[in-house]
Symmetry: C2
Subunit: 219 residues, 2 copies
DNA sequence: GACGGCCGCTTGGGATACCAAAAGTTGGGA
DNA sequence: TCCCAACTTTTGGTATCCCAAGCGGCCGTC
């Protein structure tokens, strides 16, 4: 999900990446403790990089920390997922509308590339590749929106986004929806996008709520 | 703006508050260096709380930090303010529409209270009190929107919001706009709010761009 | 047996000292 | 004037130590 890690990568960034992946991939369950000393020992680093990593993950909204006690992996409630869905809908709609107004041919080509990769992966049943390409589809469009602050905003939410909403089941349905969205984007049809995007996101929302009911994000 | 500081306040929180106020009040200019050792010596703390404070302010978007070199107070460009304004418009509109749909009588009373305080302060020409009440007006409405994620989102942006857009000049015009907004809120008139809020924010946006042109947010 | 308070253990917050690596600065030479 | 190399500054990280605040189990009481 985040690559192998650059050569000159900071220790704190490495630790952040490891803990983030542990959480998203379920190796650290929601509600489980994150004890600085223990993690430092596990990863053979001092407490400092661990502290910074935990702070970073608090910022990404997937860890909860209260002063002078251990931090815990965040547990999401039904309500949290609903609230998050509302916010997500507003932001994504904004992104796609802006992208429809401002995209250029080069950017559009990048979106098409992501779509083609997603479609091919869906056909071959390659789940991971399809999900990755789908995530890239949204990332590239966010780029095309041409608004730095919007990108910063997404940066705050993207980890939660992947954790909660990134695991689609019906790959070809998702690819088909992206095809329709891509067409509206090419036609600069903002009105259609305002209608389509909420529908598109509703699917992932339902899947997230289903997984939540099965106890995937809370203990 | 942030109060006197609780008794059991963490050092890192204290340092964060001091640096934040220094920046917002202009005592540390955009582009100026934030050197850990120097700040630690100034405030009689070790480098640790200073490091955490700088990280926190990076998270709040008012400090820029690159690896292995000093952090600097962020300089906002004309473009940044425009981008920020677009995002702000979308989020605030969402907040007011949700608040219109979901408010209860108790919450409405709190909004009315903030409005009354703002109007009184504006009449008396008390600039600080009027600005504080105006900020509270928006905070309370955000509460009424009843969406935790939205509140988290605002938390990320609120410092920038106050820095860039918090300094209104025409106090009574601002209070009057809040009166109209309050009325629409009471009537649960979401459609009017979708029209009014962008206009309301446009004023602060222009003021921010004017101050930017006069060199208040960049060196 | 349930409840509540006390006490010891755990844990994070902070201080201090030191080191390595990378970035920034400066001055001299082509 | 421009560029490179030496020097300086600064952060990122390690290793220890200490303290105070939470947490949780134990024990006595009702």
């Amino acid at each position: 999900m985040t690559g192998a890690g650059a050569a000159g990568e900071l220790e704190s960034a490495r630790v952040t990446r490891i803990l983030r992946d542990d959480i998203i991939l379920g190796r650290r369950a929601p509600g489980s403790r994150l004890v600085e000393r223990d993690i430092a020992a596990e990863l053979n680093v001092s407490r400092l990089p661990v502290r910074e990593a935990i702070r970073a993950l608090v910022g990404e909204g997937i860890v909860i920390s209260r002063p002078r006690t251990w931090a815990v992996v965040r547990e999401f409630t039904h309500r949290d997922v609903q609230d998050f869905g509302e916010v997500r809908e507003a932001i994504e709609t904004l992104i796609f509308v802006f992208a429809a107004q401002r995209h250029d041919e080069a950017g559009l080509a990048r979106v098409r590339g992501a779509y083609e990769r997603e479609r091919a992966a869906a056909e071959n049943g390659d789940v991971d590749a399809a999900r990755t390409a789908a995530a890239e589809f949204h990332e590239i469009v966010a780029d095309l929106a041409g608004n730095e602050m919007l990108s910063e905003l997404i940066g705050v939410f993207v980890t939660r986004l992947r954790w909660l909403f990134g695991q689609h089941d019906d790959l070809s349905a998702m690819a088909e929806e992206h095809r329709v969205i891509l067409a509206a984007l090419e036609a600069r049809d903002a009105e259609s996008l305002r209608r389509i995007i909420p529908l598109h996101l509703a699917g992932g929302q339902e899947a997230a709520l289903r997984r939540l009911a099965n106890g995937n994000y809370s203990i």
